[in-house]
């Protein structure tokens, strides 16, 4: 492994060695040091609403069964039979009380307990040869949820999820808590793109600068009125601990008027007011900022936009818009390939007509067919492709937007009276969030590998 200190130092000062977007050695380092200890999103609780429901999700090369067991408890189990290592579940989703391995018929309850072991007495001499009780599929080393978002951590000694998310929870709530019932999600759509996973995460974290140009066609066809260049730069970007995002500046008005401006019906605004804190409401009502895209380190992103999606919409009426929310995972496959998993999310208490139209808004804008998304991916594939060559190793990409040569900010940070959210925020175009994300990335790559323990089953021997 070559010394990466120089690479990481350059990243920290905002000069990005272009090859980090297509570098096999760095990808191995990311697997060993970053994805082995970061909290990684795998599913939302609403995907497994009933006892026995399950989805199967990957964390890099590992497959996990995420179940709601017979007692309603959520579990994440490594999808590998304890006997010969077969995948015990080969479906992507369903409902099951048991998982039976197709190889030799070992059977596990949906909480992971081994319950069936054919010819236990004859083949193993019963519990003497293989004590069956207490054996379970390997649980994920760490599992935790926030607002229904289920995360896995491969480090058994990881810091608690709540501590990791920290102040970013303030912003997560905008996307994931619009009533006491919380979100319901659909999907994900899954597709693979020949792009490095970091590019999408950076883009969603803070790239307001690309919107007016990359997405010019969206404005031209009347789908989304906001991203005109003059308007986009009036928004603020913020970074809070493990994540950050972009906002749009709304026209004058109070909280209710501004929520209405982006298309929330009154009954949803009423429910939102009951669950968002005073400060969260002030960010919209007093400061006039509405959340748009965001990323949570390392590879989870969110979108909240409010396009015009109904043909009944009068072309001259600016009010006929509707918000949608999407959750997005940038699942790394290799240094130059990413599986995108994109969920549509909507408040579970929203009226049926709203859910229908919000879903439509999502499909038109984001996801595998989304009109925003199409142009983004084209750029990221091209970037990744170019980053794989030798010339990319001679080029430091300038990612210092928002900083003067002596590291003073181009624009002063917003005071807390003008931006009621935690962390640091400023108006206008900058690459502060992309740098913050990559600084966390660099810090992780310098941490020692996570120590892992072996689990030996059915034997007294310790390893």
């Amino acid at each position: 492994m070559v010394d990466q200190h120089r690479v990481l130092d350059n990243v920290r000062r905002g000069m990005i060695p272009a090859h980090i977007y297509n570098d096999k050695e760095l990808f191995e380092l990311e697997k060993e040091r970053l994805f082995s200890r970061a909290w990684l999103f795998v599913a939302h609780e609403s995907e497994i609403p009933q006892d026995g429901d399950y989805v199967v999700r990957r964390v890099l090369d590992d497959s996990f069964i995420i179940t709601r067991d017979a007692n309603g408890e959520i579990r994440a189990m490594f999808n590998m039979c304890l006997h010969r290592g077969m995948q015990v579940c080969r479906a992507e989703m369903g409902n099951a009380s048991n998982f039976r391995c197709p190889y030799h018929g070992w059977t596990y309850r949906n909480d992971g307990r081994l319950t069936g072991l054919p010819f236990h007495r004859e083949a193993y001499g019963g519990d003497d040869g293989f004590p069956r009780d207490g054996q379970t599929l390997l649980p994920a080393p760490n599992l935790a949820s926030y607002n229904g978002l289920i995360f896995i951590n491969m480090d058994p000694d990881a810091q608690p999820l709540e501590d990791f998310l920290g102040d970013f929870r303030f912003y997560l709530d905008f996307y994931t808590k619009q009533s006491r019932g919380g979100l319901e999600v659909r999907g994900p759509q899954r597709w693979r793109i020949k792009a490095n996973w970091k590019i999408g995460a950076e883009n969603f974290a803070g790239d307001m600068y690309h919107t007016p140009h990359t997405h010019a066609s969206i404005v031209e066809i009347g789908l989304f009125r906001e991203p005109r260049a003059q308007k986009r730069k009036d928004g603020a970007t913020y970074w809070a601990q493990c994540g950050g995002g972009t906002t749009y500046k709304l026209p004058p008005g109070n909280f209710e008027e501004r929520m209405r401006y982006v298309g929330y019906p009154d009954e949803m605004v009423d429910r939102i007011k009951r669950v968002w804190t005073k400060l969260q409401q002030q960010l919209v009502g007093d400061d006039g900022f509405m959340i748009s895209a965001a990323s949570c380190f390392p590879n989870l992103s969110f979108v909240h936009n409010w396009p015009k999606v109904l043909d009944s919409a009068d072309a001259d009426s600016p009010d006929d818009v509707l918000p949608f929310i999407s959750i997005r995972l940038w699942q790394p496959i290799s240094e130059n390939e990413t599986e995108v998993c994109s969920w549509f999310a909507v408040d579970s208490a929203a009226p049926p007509e709203y859910k229908k139209n919000s879903y439509k808004a999502y499909l038109m804008c984001f996801g595998s067919t989304g009109m925003f998304e199409q142009d983004d991916v084209e750029n990221w594939v091209s970037l990744t492709n170019t980053a794989g060559g030798s010339m990319a190793r001679r080029l430091l990409l300038n990612s210092r937007m928002g900083l003067l040569s002596d590291d003073r900010p181009v624009v002063d940070p917003l005071p807390s009276a003008a931006f009621h959210g935690p962390g640091h925020a400023q108006v206008g175009y900058n690459e502060n969030n992309q740098r913050a994300l990559l600084r966390l990335w660099a810090d992780h790559l310098e941490m020692p590998p996570v120590s892992t323990a072996m689990t030996a089953l059915g034997t007294a021997a310790t390893i």
Partner: protein, 184 residues
Amino acid sequence: MTTPQIGTPVGKPLPFNDNRHLQAHQFLVDEAYLLDAQQYETWLDTLADDIHYLMPVRVTTALGAGFDTSPGMAHFDEDKYSLSRRVARFATEHAWTEDPPSRLRHDITNVRTFACEDDVHLVVESAELLFRSRGDVNEAALVSCGRQDVLRRCGDHQDQLKLARRTILVDESVLRMQNLAVFL
């Protein structure tokens, strides 16, 4: 999206020399030409005003689970308006994903036509393989799918066909194409 059910097929597939089958087959081949050539505005005219254009997300489920699509989620779930916005976008000068344009080949096979209870509609099944090449050396992408269409007779002499319903059942759970800035 919920749309009224139309076009209930009756009986076996029409013989391949049946005029209705020949007309339906020609409709699909002519349409494939328009999609290959990206003549999307002309293509839009071949769609009925009440079109429902649906491409569910496929999921792997256990045999006997009773479903193999992601509940409530699709890649496309379109009406004429949303399709018209997609076509309008391609007509702008800023749809970067198709500038330079892809080279597309929609191969259509396994066409079976069914008469319906009414005289107005035909149900047509087809298999489709889309080959998409971008740039000079980028790996090409394939999408394989089955389609079930409802075609409707229209025009003054009932001599014209329009696409009223299309359900696209893609054969992969995880698409190996960077986006669906194409139609199937």
